[in-house]
Subunit: 218 residues, 2 copies
């Protein structure tokens, strides 16, 4: 069968994929405890009982491994958002799902939204996944009443540059709500994850929930 060519995996390919997965798992453990900048291929190799250069059979260099991790992080986020959207709780449940996903592994969130390396260019498929997430936000942005979003200059501006919004590109209030949902939730979440609320005593969850309410239009 001509189509089976793709389905059939040789034992070698299977082994290869398995080892790549194991490498990523060890990498996640390192990142979770010491951050992405401390990730060491050497240390991973030792943990797996093999000697340094062997890893280069599986990832051409450190950047390629990190890129694979970023890809997985995006995928994981998209899955979480998608699941929340599918269960149909509207903006609030989607926002809470995002927060839960971020708190589950802060460094995973920061791998996507943290400090970028100046030269780094995100690969094509991660922007595709980012667009998927935006599409989900746009869908959710229409679930609640949009009457609470009065026309404003920024809506006009967003409507003029709305190629990213796909089918919803002609709905200015919706574009606006999707954008502020993204920026406001990220604002609270990233400050919380970075520990900037640490000494202040209040509960970030309360602020997050309030922002979620504000976005939903209360």
């Amino acid at each position: 069968m001509a189509t089976a060519q793709k389905e059939t995996e040789t034992p070698r390919q299977r082994y290869r994929a398995q080892v790549q997965e194991e490498i990523k798992q060890h990498a996640w453990e390192q990142i979770a405890t010491a951050g992405a900048s401390a990730l060491s291929l050497n240390a991973i190799a030792k943990q797996m009982g093999m000697s340094g250069p062997a890893l280069y059979r599986y990832y051409a260099n450190r950047d390629e491994l990190i890129t694979a991790l970023i890809r997985d992080a995006y995928q994981s986020m998209a899955d979480a958002i998608h699941a929340a959207a599918a269960s149909g709780g509207g903006i609030r449940s989607l926002g809470q799902a995002l927060r839960a996903w971020a708190l589950e592994d802060p460094q995973r969130y920061l791998l996507i939204y943290g400090t970028p390396v100046p030269g780094y260019e995100a690969p094509e498929d991660t922007t595709r996944l980012a667009n998927e997430v935006m599409a989900e936000l746009l869908d959710a942005a229409g679930a609640d009443d949009l009457g609470a979003m009065p026309a404003s200059p920024v809506q006009a501006h967003l409507a003029e540059h709305s190629a990213w919004a796909g089918e919803h590109s002609a709905d200015p209030p919706r574009l606006h709500r999707a954008v502020i949902m993204w920026t406001r939730l990220h604002g609270v979440l990233s400050l919380e994850l970075a520990g900037h609320f640490a000494g202040m005593g209040f509960d970030p969850a309360e602020v997050f929930a309030a922002e979620l309410d504000a976005v939903a239009g209360n």
Copy 2:
């Protein structure tokens, strides 16, 4: 004079301070072009025409240098905010000043608000500077009409945990406005600096200005 003891700087002290300043300047150049993770003491030493270990006379280790840079970044931000507050343009001019300061050197902003290293603990005086900035936000939060901030659960919660707010700790709407000013502006700004709006076509300045309007109560 007993008091002159502190004022008088020996030539050695002066030289020392001067070299420390020069080291920081080279460090900023490196950070601006390649990010904080790529900062190399060795490279700085070579740029200054001296050999590696000499720098350890001035900073005990890499972390101490980075801490000094973070301190300077906080100070610079506090100065910018303070100048904007002093010129009295209210929330909007303060927000625009913050954005201008951040865009002037993105990596400097990210040194404060970017991905933290898990083990890192901010030194005492940076939290003092952070509090200064918050105090400025709290002052500005009262400049415009607070009637646009209806009572809400989060205001009650913030009022219960408001030790960080100093003299304004008994003014729930003001606390709330200061917090959302912080989180919302940071939300837009950090996504812009990290390049997450890159492929979308709209102007981050418009979104930023709209958020500023929303905080001011329009």
